[in-house]
């Protein structure tokens, strides 16, 4: 259980670091997919019990970082 906790926290924090270094939309998309997969894994793992506060807070933080980064990156072409 403790090992799983550490693994999840590390996965999320790795994404956090990479988001800071992200410079284009392609990279951002990969990170967003990773983030989604990780958060889904965490939710599934802690289905029966509550998600630890550390992990929950980090997820929220990384999500806001990703949104901010998306807003900073140049927009792609528009469609109607």
């Amino acid at each position: 259980m403790l090992i799983d906790y550490r693994i999840f926290l590390k996965r999320i924090r790795d994404i956090e670091v990479k988001v800071v270094l992200c410079k284009n939309n392609f990279h951002w998309k990969i990170l967003a997919e990773k983030f989604q997969a990780t958060s889904e894994d965490i939710e599934e793992f802690y289905k029966e019990s509550e998600i630890p506060t550390d992990i929950a807070e980090t997820i929220v933080h990384v999500r806001s970082l990703l949104v901010e980064k998306k807003a900073e990156l140049p927009p792609e072409d528009l469609i109607v």
Partner: protein, 373 residues
């Protein structure tokens, strides 16, 4: 021995009594000293507490002031009952009409200044509406005015009904200045579209803007066409212009309408020249919707129209503000549709375009189609 014992007991008793009295005295003295200290301590902090009490008093005084101003604005009687409408000026020289003088006489100094400055600006821009921002303040010379005072004055003017302010987004605002309609030097935008639509004022104004945009687009399109397509259009234009000139000559021989001023006589002739040109241009634009045009083709046209409109808006608001709008759009999409949409490029683009369309008043497909027809 018995006597000695008694003497010793008596002496020790006396000594005990004296000791007790001494201890009592010492304790009493200590108590008195403590009381004095307490009194001193109580006496000293009072001046320190005063400023703490003063601050809320200042706030209290400020709050009532704000409330008073709000109340005074709420109590203000509207000088004009109608909502301000969008007009365009037909001439550059617009006189101060009697109505405007009567209105401005009733205003306070700040209100009078702001209203008159905006009126002069409107005349120079040939329209009584536009964006309300720092550039407007700079152009009208109102940037030296305190920001709060300016905002307050705008509120007062809107309470009077002399200006209507609309928030497009957190960064953008537009204004419509109230002006009594004067046929001699103004043109109602509402009147233009009256035969087509019976929509409310705001929509009417927007639609008219849209028409202008479409015209601009069509003009831009014509400008970008290849040289093959140009000659026939030019020929048509020339033919039509000749016809118009002939018709104008005929019309100039007829007596002019009584109401129109000498300035006006010049202007309408210009319009008669330009209007047929536009018509011919619109007719000549390849791909212009006709009855037989399919929905897919229209869709394609609409896509280019929207992208052009967004480009124009980008140019209009400037790079930095557009980036801010984009940031807001991303945050809005994330909060409304969830994070998954951000990583789905197709959906994200769709929602982003919708956001821009609502932010920049770009008409939806159906409206655009109706306007085209």
């Amino acid at each position: 021995m018995g006597l000695f014992k008694k003497i010793i007991v008596a002496v020790s008793d006396k000594a005990k009594d004296e000791l007790k009295e001494y201890v009592k005295r010492v304790l009493e003295e200590k108590e008195i000293a403590e009381k004095k200290d307490e009194e001193v301590v109580l006496a000293k902090p009072q001046p320190q507490e005063e400023p703490v009490e003063k601050a809320p008093i200042v706030e209290k005084t400020k709050q009532p002031e704000q409330e008073e101003t709000q109340n005074s604005i709420a109590k203000m009687v509207p000088l004009v009952k109608e909502l301000p409408q969008k007009y365009t000026f037909t001439t550059l020289t617009a006189p101060l009409t009697r109505d405007i003088i009567d209105l401005t006489q009733l205003l306070a100094f700040d209100e009078f200044t702001v209203y008159l400055k905006l009126y002069i600006y409107s005349v120079s821009q040939r329209k009584n509406y536009g964006y309300l921002g720092n550039s407007l303040r700079r152009k009208t010379g109102l940037d030296t005015m305190d920001h709060r005072l300016f905002e307050l004055t705008l509120l007062k003017l809107s309470a009077h009904g002399l200006i209507s302010i609309e928030d497009l987004s957190s960064n953008q605002r537009t204004f419509i200045l109230y002006l009594p309609f004067d046929e001699d030097f103004m043109k109602s935008q509402k009147k233009k579209e009256a035969p087509h639509h019976t929509a409310p004022q705001k929509q009417g104004g927007n639609r008219d803007n849209r028409e202008n945009r479409e015209r601009n687009n069509s003009n831009r399109n014509t400008g970008n066409r290849t040289s093959r397509q140009r000659p026939p259009r030019e020929k048509e234009d020339k033919k039509e212009s000749h016809q118009n000139n002939n018709s104008q000559k005929q019309s100039s021989q007829k007596p002019a309408p009584q109401k129109q001023a000498p300035q006006k006589d010049v202007k309408p002739t210009k319009k008669t020249k330009s209007e047929p040109k536009k018509q011919t241009q619109q007719r000549a634009i390849p791909g212009r919707p006709t009855g037989a045009m399919s929905d897919d083709e229209l869709r394609k046209q609409y896509v280019t129209f929207v992208s052009l409109e967004i480009d124009k808006a980008k140019m209009r608001v400037g790079r930095s503000s557009f980036d801010k709008i984009y940031m807001e759009a991303v945050k809005y999409i994330d909060s409304k549709y969830g994070f998954k949409v951000l990583s789905d490029p197709d959906k994200f683009k769709e929602y982003l375009t919708n956001y821009y369309m609502s932010a920049f008043d770009i008409p939806e497909f159906e409206d655009w189609k109706e306007n085209k027809k």
